[in-house]
């Protein structure tokens, strides 16, 4: 029988320990008189703010920190070293499509005429920006197989909102906005949240034994009061709905629409097109499929593509080409649902997504999809003996396991995820989708080489062995980070959401 000191602890191959520096809050090293800025001298007369503003003048300055430039650079540089990032290694996060963020995107989005363009500058002086919008629109329409598109929504959830608004406007124009939206229980949380925001009642639809849509049950569930079905395809368990054309038929027969959540487009791009298999309206995530950087949580961009019957309702304005080839913004759209945001959308992300599309071309996009699906299936094959596959259906660009085998030793998906950190990886998506108890959702993307995939597989296999022979090392993970598991309960019960001077900022 193994003694305490002989219990198996895996060998990490991707990481060693490394030093990270400590760094407090910027306010904690602030001192009056330190400066990191110098303005150019005024070339106009100075003014007396109290004369100009009167009672509207600020009496006390905001307590922003005062630091020197080197202190600021060190501050943020040290902070950055505490982050994991794609630039450091793979993110196996299912449904997030954490692919490489090309640096040429960053360069072109910062070009002077592009970065400095004001949305209200004259159209004749914005032909470059309008051309970027137009070309991206054309590419995305071709990729999705749809007829029209808006780039206005700022992110996926915003795109979902826009898409359901389009659906609602379409139904209203026909005389009945209808009452419900059907949403599979495997859906991302933004789907039901969005439907509720648009005034629809959510009908939660149970997935079948394969984690997909039970088409017969759907046929019974769709009525004349169904506005739409919100479907993610491939589903959140990474499986293609191969009866999708029947699903579309059922919906269309009752005058309902098929909305596709395009978060998993990385499995379809260049191989098939949603518009071809019956989708009426869908959103895309430029920060997933189209490589724009996540930046710690955003910005994203959530274009919405639709078929012609929804085109009149698109947000205003739309970009059009005049007789002489000049591009302009058309605001005269009487049936539009209105604006979903000011100006034209997250233009900086359009530049990046377009650069990505141009750097790939038709062959490149097809190959990225093939590699993404290949990589996911490789991982599936290499881990299916140790982790349970809840569904036997073929995986596309992501694979979902469950923690059922590990649960026998009291170890859950969340614990395995934390132990994965010690092996130098960011965790996979934990406990989602909800239809798989104890889910481990893994999406490697096409960016990962076989070497990185093998390191990941090696880590997961070693952890599986640790679960059998030494579960405590997994339950107490992570061991190698600068902070260990944080107390989220107290953080929620007694929220401290800002720093306060004099002490640690704790308040009752």
């Amino acid at each position: 029988m193994a003694t305490e000191t002989e219990k198996f602890v895996g060998t990490t191959r991707k990481v060693t320990s490394h030093l990270t520096q400590n760094e407090g809050l910027s306010f904690e090293k602030s001192a009056a008189g330190k400066k990191a800025y110098r303005l150019a001298p005024l070339d106009v007369p100075e003014v007396d703010p109290s004369a100009l503003l009167g009672e509207a003048q600020r009496s006390e300055s905001a307590e922003l920190p005062e630091l020197s430039e080197i202190e600021i650079i060190r501050h943020f540089t040290r902070l950055s070293t505490w982050n994991y990032a794609i630039d450091l290694g793979m993110y196996p996060l299912g449904s997030c499509t954490m692919k490489y963020n090309p640096r040429v995107n960053e360069l072109v989005s910062r070009l002077e005429g592009i970065a400095d363009a004001h949305p209200y500058q004259p159209e004749e002086l914005s032909q470059g920006s309008l051309a970027v919008i137009r070309l991206l629109q054309k590419c995305l329409i071709e990729i999705t197989g749809m007829d029209a598109i808006t780039l206005q929504p700022a992110a996926g959830a915003h795109g979902e909102f826009t898409g359901i608004l389009l659906a609602r406007a379409y139904h209203e124009a026909k005389g009945n906005p209808r009452k419900t939206v059907i949403i599979p229980d495997s859906a991302h949380g933004t789907n039901p949240a969005t439907a509720a925001m648009c005034g629809y009642e959510v009908v939660n639809f149970k997935s079948n034994a394969n984690g997909g849509i039970d088409v017969e049950a759907l046929a019974r569930a769709v009525t004349e009061e169904t506005a739409a079905l919100m479907l993610t395809n491939p589903s959140t368990i990474g499986v293609f709905e191969n009866e999708i054309h029947r699903i579309a038929e059922i919906l269309h027969a009752k005058g309902a629409l098929l909305y596709m959540d395009g978060a998993n487009m990385n499995a379809l791009c260049g191989k098939t097109r949603p518009g071809d298999f019956g989708v009426d309206v869908m959103h895309l995530n430029l920060h997933k499929t189209f490589s724009t950087p996540h930046g710690g949580g955003g910005p994203g961009s959530g274009p919405v593509a639709c078929k012609m019957h929804l085109e009149p309702f698109l947000p205003t304005p739309v970009v059009e080409e005049g007789a002489g080839g000049e591009l302009r913004l058309n605001y005269d759209r009487p049936q539009s649902v209105g604006r979903v945001r000011a100006f034209y959308g997250n233009f900086g992300m359009f530049v990046r997504a377009l650069a990505y599309i141009l750097s790939n071309g038709p062959d490149g996009l097809r190959q990225t999809t093939e590699d993404a699906v290949l990589n996911a299936n490789y991982i599936r094959k290499k881990l299916e003996d140790l982790y349970e596959l809840p569904y036997n259906t073929p995986s596309m660009h992501e694979v979902v396991f469950s923690d059922r085998k590990q649960l026998r030793n009291g170890v859950r998906t969340g614990d395995i995820a934390k132990r994965l950190i010690d092996y130098g990886f960011h965790p996979y998506t934990v406990s989602f989708p909800l239809i798989v108890p104890g889910a481990l959702m893994i999406e490697p993307t096409e960016s990962e080489s076989r070497e990185e995939l093998d390191l990941f597989v090696d880590a997961m296999r070693q952890i599986a062995r640790e679960v059998e022979e030494n579960p405590q090392v997994v339950l107490d993970a992570p061991h190698s980070t600068r902070v260990s598991r944080l107390d989220e309960t107290t953080a929620a019960r007694k929220p401290v959401l800002r720093w306060k001077g004099q002490g640690t900022g704790n308040r009752e």
Partner: protein
């Protein structure tokens, strides 16, 4: 790898897609380009935009100098290519930076709590309105017409179905002679069914609203006061709207390039008792098992991934990297710098208003304003703009498409980047225009 999987070709892995839907042709998109070609493509696009023009455009998007440190820091892969900080142990960099952001926003706005960003100022408005409705349990909304017209359009889009259901329409209150919200009309409109009054300050005309007076009217009837700040730099010298219950900010002025309208950085800040109704991500301070300070996303039960259809908002991805730009900007300028910067803006705009005002008529002249002003001219804005463009000057936005009653008026902005020489040249053109009209 295919062998290991047991597939004979890559097509096996796509067999699950019904045959009739498998694409058998190439996508009709431009051919694959080399990196230099991509750079050339966008340089060509940039060349077709305005280059080397003096610009007096503001109207919700402001030209401010971006300290070099911003891109130095946000271009670090550890910030740029990092994911949402759900796994706190390996994202303390992002989380601490957001905590600092939240703190600085509170300091600037006079609120107790701030979130980790919304998409932008315009979408933060309907989110704040929905928040006020949850807090008060009421349906009515009162909005000033001096709020940015596109912000109001967005609010209308979000309110559509709700208004049809409840029968409550959003009421728009006009402005008085001084360019500020008509207080008498406001008083008449606010009832005990009003969830919130929403104003912008400085407003779309650049005029600072009388926030204490507006607050008194709103809160007397138990309505919340929501104040939107579109020009964040104004908070360096203009008093913060401390009487408000909720403050919306567009932080684009804090080091975010205009970029033809996005991505920007919205924020919602509020008094602390509203924290559980706040949409968007929140970062909180806590400790780990060894008592070390750390930061986590918190109060997630408000959000979509937990509450689904009962969430306070459907927002998931926000504007984290852009918020980081704003954080660096606020840190670089700091307590003194943000005030000095705002003072420069005040001075430049005052000079510009006086110079242009002698050639046209300055509207709302007696009211306090920050870095924007409204100029009335005899010449129609189309003709005036054409003259200015010949001098490589982009003049103020014509207002008639949103405020037809203001005739030929244009909205001008001057920031610390506006040069005296540019103002003098613009004034010269406006003088020419005035002379031309007088001569007819």
């Amino acid at each position: 790898m295919l062998r290991e999987i047991g597939a004979s070709s890559i097509d096996d892995l796509f067999a699950v897609i019904p045959e009739e839907y498998r694409l058998k042709r190439d996508l009709e998109i431009p051919r694959q380009m080399g990196e230099s070609e991509i750079v050339d493509h966008f340089k060509a696009a940039a060349a077709k935009n305005a280059n080397g023009y003096a610009s007096f455009l503001g109207a919700g998007v402001y030209r401010h100098y971006r300290p070099v440190l911003i891109d130095t820091i946000v271009q670090r892969g550890e910030f740029l290519t990092s994911y949402t900080p759900y796994q706190a142990e390996i994202t303390q960099g992002t989380l601490q930076a957001i905590f600092e952001f939240q703190t600085m926003i509170c300091e600037l706005t006079g609120m107790d709590i701030a979130n980790a960003s919304m998409y932008d100022g315009s979408t933060a408005c309907p989110e704040a309105v929905l928040m006020a409705m949850r807090v008060t349990g009421r349906d009515g909304v009162v909005v000033a017409r001096t709020v940015h017209p596109e912000y109001r359009e967005v609010m209308r889009t979000y309110a559509q179905h709700r208004e049809k259901e409840s029968g409550e329409r959003t009421q728009e209150i006009g402005y008085a002679q001084d360019g500020r919200i008509d207080l008498a009309a406001l008083e008449a409109a606010v009832t005990d069914q009003t969830a919130c009054v929403l104003v912008q300050s400085p407003n779309f005309f650049g005029v600072v609203e009388d926030v204490p007076a507006i607050a008194a009217i709103a809160q007397k009837k138990g309505a919340l006061l929501v104040v939107a700040v579109a020009e964040a730099v104004s908070l360096g010298i203009v008093r913060p709207p401390v009487e408000a219950d909720v403050v919306i900010m567009e932080a684009q002025s804090f080091g975010v390039a205009p970029s033809f309208g996005g991505p920007f950085c919205g924020v919602i800040a509020a008094k602390e008792n509203y924290v559980r109704q706040m949409p968007g991500r929140l970062v909180g301070q806590t400790t780990d098992k060894q008592g070390r300070r750390g930061f986590v996303l918190t109060l997630s039960t408000r959000e979509q991934h937990i509450r689904r259809e009962k969430a306070t908002s459907n927002i998931c991805t926000n504007q984290a990297l852009v918020a980081l730009m704003a954080t660096v900007f606020m840190t670089v300028y700091g307590k003194e710098g943000i005030r000095d910067l705002a003072l420069q803006n005040l001075a430049k705009a005052d000079y510009a208003a006086k110079a242009l005002g002698t050639q046209g008529t300055l509207l709302f002249a007696g009211s306090p304003r920050f870095n924007e002003f409204v100029l009335q001219t005899e010449e129609a804005p189309e003709a005036l703009h054409a003259r200015l463009l010949e001098q490589k000057i982009i003049g103020g936005v014509a207002l008639k498409r949103w405020y037809p009653e203001l005739g030929n008026a244009t909205l001008w902005c001057a920031t610390e980047l506006t040069m005296k020489e540019q103002v003098d040249r613009a004034a010269g053109v406006v003088a020419e225009a005035a002379a031309a009209v007088a001569g007819r």
